[in-house]
Amino acid sequence: MSTTPAVPPKKVNRIGLEVLPYKGSRTTLCAGCGHNSISERIVECFYELGIQPWTVAKFSGIGCSSKSPAYFLGLSHGFNGVHGRMPAIATGAMLANRNLLGLGVTGDGDTASIGIGQFMHLVRRNLPMIYIIENNGVYGLTKGQFSATADLGSTLKTGMPNDLPPFDCCALGLKWGATFVARSFSGDKRQLQAILKTAISHQGLSIIDVISPCVTFNDHEGSTKSYSYMKEHEEVLHELDYVPYYEDISVEIPEGTVTEVQMHDGSRLRIRKLDRDFDPTDRLAALGALEEAEKKGEVLTGVLYVNTRKPTFLELLNLPEEAIATLPESRVRPSKSVLEQVMEELR
């Protein structure tokens, strides 16, 4: 640990930790898998922001993506649950201890097929946590079946075409109540970092749909979730910069091209305009942009929506500041006189 500094002194973050404690065990996913890049971004972001790993709780369901929490933040508690039901586990844990930083990692099978019901209810509740969908349009762990995010007309490795339209998890999140919705590409290191850091600062549910190619089962000609397809069809909405709350920001913002969103913890998301005007606080505009991109065959990436005002599920429940799980007996077991009062009412 960081308490035994080596000579020469190693690089540490603002809470004095090296990067090692932010890493996990060695990945068992395929070489080149997009999920591994996402794991690396997670390690970097939590390290760079200086977040204590043991304040984080990792959640996942079943699938290749859901294995990945073992490969980052090894000093965080992790829960690899059942297929499609990660939202329930995460909800329970966050109710028990609202001070956890919840980080869910799931896949498109987990979220858009077996778990779409739980996903939608998580969105509806605006549970404060990060929900990353490692979206490759295919079931990897069962060797290459279509998922419900596979695009119409895209083909399996065998050549079989998909004849059903996809669910767009960002559109679902936007429609039903998520307060931070973003899409990114596992190959876009800079954008994904900015999005992840903003999600860490966000108080509310963050949906991050990351197109993350499956090199083994869905990286071929005919796939719309391959590296080459993304390179040709990715349409970047804007350039993103995340400025943490603890950094002094003295750089002047050029008027007209950059807007800022202040996050709950005081951090800022700087959004630099590219070709189009896009206001990420306008939910309907975001839905419209997704619809339009779909028609054009583009994959829109960037921050689609951010809402820093909507109350979270934990606020609606009127929970105290500390974790209810560990309240002392004196606060969770009513007194003898309460029991006597209730008994008297029942006589």
Partner: protein
């Protein structure tokens, strides 16, 4: 069962010279949604307030309004509060069922009925009292749209006169039922009851033998349903996360809990809730949330019925294998599938004991009374955390939804026991820990809670193969070692579960084994067997699964042991088959009832007599 001996051809018009006091059952047949529940509760409570042991059982349809409902009140000076098969006193308000209800009665029974139904034409061996309800209700309830609801209170007055129920007690019960806030409604209903009483007094000559007399058997007691008792148990157990999905007959457990938590579990200083209650999107989510919360250190629970258990089974296996505490209430109803959703059964024993795929075993508590619903719920929360496993409190619709007379609940005499949880200080002392290492020899490892402020606190929880350090493994030896430890943990539970209640009758050759609400029928049946057939029977009531040595001793001690099951497939007996020495199994006999009504003593007695060849 009637004490009258009458010839069916002779009309019953003469006064009875064999009074039957404090020992009969009243059945009230109504249409659901007509407000009869209030009238029935008031009637039951009036008898209770006169010091007479009483029970009330509601047999209702899976419907909101318009279908037949029967409510049975049993008064028993002997203290028998199980269901009685025979009906002595019928209040026939439902035109749909009135004829069939009358035809089913034993000779000598009494019928109060709505006059236009003309029921007295049906039989001449019963006591009939026709009441013109519509004529009586109009003057006491000027508002026509309320008459449907107030009408039923008239039969309370009529029955009060016929049975000599003290009208002051009835009024007291009525005021209690409506509460201070609904004084106007109480007045209106009291007027109706009074009208019924006055009508009966000036119209009828009492011919039937049934009446009540004051006793002193209910002083200090309360009336409560099992679901409310479980809810109170959960609140006093210090539950912090409650997740649920509505399903009959368990919904009222959480609904009652919500009411009590709102009153008694808010921080007096800042008004904050010291709990979270979430109505989930389905049972998969409710158990998932309960497990997530239990993993993060909450005292968590969910409540459901059989169909919910089926839906939860995958998660319950995860809870077992990943070793996460949670308390699950299963208020059993009649299955399979939707079954009879408003009837009672003990039909989930096997599916809960072995719930989920692979090798799984789950502990179950079997409360039989509101007192045990309360105390066992508190114990179940301790148990779940001590053994780090989903723990089931098995009740049924009869216990959960019917009103029971009970002793006031005792305040827990032990502090909350939260099991083996390592704090940051513990970790500093130890330097680290292995989540699934059996340090103490009881199969239970030490856990840490997420958020514990220590770099050595974390471990990875998974439903896939894991070793002592909670690391992923597919090794044969790791898997077997872990599964054997889980089996050992289950064995250790035998020393911790509540012991059975054992009543050995000296010289008895036969014995009963039963759980939960079968208790009332079995205890009464023991008396019937002794008094009517000179058969002595011992009785062991199990309070929990896994079973303890007491069960083995009990079976050894008797020639034949009747295992009472409220299900078709002898599930309790089946569980014993899985555990007991084959030599003992030959002594076991199965006694089953699965019609959906609460088990009654006569059914038990008749079956034993038949099997004993008497």
């Amino acid at each position: 069962m009637s004490t009258l001996e009458v010839s069916p051809s002779e009309p019953l018009t003469h006064p009875s010279d064999h009074p039957v006091v404090n020992d009969f059952s009243i059945q009230i047949a109504t249409v659901n949604g007509s407000g009869s529940q209030t009238a029935n509760t008031v009637l039951m409570r009036s008898i209770f307030q006169m010091g007479i042991p009483v029970s009330g059982k509601n047999m209702f349809p899976s419907n909101i309004a318009g279908l037949p409902t029967w409510f049975t009140i049993r008064a028993s000076k002997h203290g028998y509060i199980g269901r009685r098969k025979e009906i002595d006193f019928l209040v026939a308000m439902n035109p749909e069922t009135a004829r069939e209800d009358v035809m089913k009665l034993d000779s000598g029974a009494t019928v109060v009925y709505d006059e236009p139904l003309k029921l007295s034409e049906l039989r001449s061996d019963l006591h009939f009292y026709p009441v013109p309800f519509d004529k009586l209700v109009a003057p006491v309830c000027p508002e026509a749209k309320l008459r449907k609801l107030v009408r039923n209170m008239i039969y309370d007055g009529v029955v009060a006169w016929l049975l000599s129920i003290d009208m002051d007690e009835l009024r007291k019960a009525l005021v209690k039922q409506f509460g201070k806030r609904k004084a106007k409604a109480a007045d209106l209903n009291w007027g109706a009851a009074r009208a019924g009483f006055d009508f009966a007094a000036r119209t009828f000559t009492k011919n039937d033998p049934y009446r009540v007399e004051r006793m002193n058997q209910t002083a200090g007691k309360i009336i409560i349903d099992g679901n409310a008792a479980c809810a109170l148990g959960a609140m006093f157990a210090g539950v912090t996360v409650v997740t649920w999905y509505p399903i009959t007959p368990s919904s009222s457990l959480v609904e009652t809990l919500i009411g009590y938590m709102k009153r008694f579990r808010h921080d007096p200083e800042n008004g904050k809730s010291t709990y979270a209650i979430v109505q989930a999107e389905d049972e998969l989510a409710s158990i998932g949330m309960a497990l997530g919360a239990g993993w993060a250190g909450a005292r968590s629970m969910t409540a459901t019925a059989g169909p919910g258990i089926s839906l939860m089974s995958e998660f319950i296996g995860l809870g077992y294998y990943a070793e996460i505490p949670a308390v699950v209430f299963d208020v059993e109803r009649v299955g399979p599938s939707t079954g009879l959703p408003t009837r009672t059964q003990q039909g989930d024993l096997l599916s809960v004991a072995l719930c989920s795929h692979g090798d799984t075993r789950h502990p179950m508590y079997f409360p039989c009374s509101p007192e045990e619903c309360f105390s066992m719920t508190i114990d179940a929360f301790d148990f779940a955390e001590q053994f780090q496993t989903p723990t089931f409190v098995m009740t049924d619709l009869d216990l959960g939804m019917n009103n029971w007379m009970a002793d006031p609940f005792a305040y827990p005499d032990q502090p909350i026991r939260r099991g083996k949880v390592l704090s940051a200080e513990d970790l500093s002392k130890l330097g680290g820990f292995a989540r699934y290492k059996d340090v103490d020899g009881d199969g239970v490892g030490y856990r840490t809670l997420p958020g514990t402020d220590h770099p050595a606190a974390s471990y990875f929880t998974r439903g896939s193969g894991h070793n002592e350090k909670a690391q992923y493994t597919e090794r044969e030896d790791d898997y077997i070692f872990n599964m054997d430890r889980l089996a050992h943990k289950f064995e250790c539970m035998r020393q911790r579960v509540p012991e059975p209640v054992v009543n050995i009758v000296p010289g008895a050759r036969i014995g009963f084994v039963a759980i939960g609400t079968s208790d009332y029928a079995v205890r009464e049946s023991c008396d019937q067997l002794r008094n009517e057939y000179q058969i002595d029977a011992s009785y062991l009531r199990l309070k929990a699964y896994p079973f303890t040595e007491h069960l083995v001793d009990f079976i050894r001690h008797h020639d034949r042991v009747y295992v009472v099951d409220q299900n078709r497939d002898a599930q309790l007996l089946g569980l014993m088959r899985l555990e007991l020495d084959p030599g003992l199994l030959a002594k076991l006999r199965s006694l089953r009832y699965y019609g959906g009504l609460p088990l009654d003593a006569r059914t038990v007695t008749d079956e034993v007599v038949k099997q004993e060849g008497k």
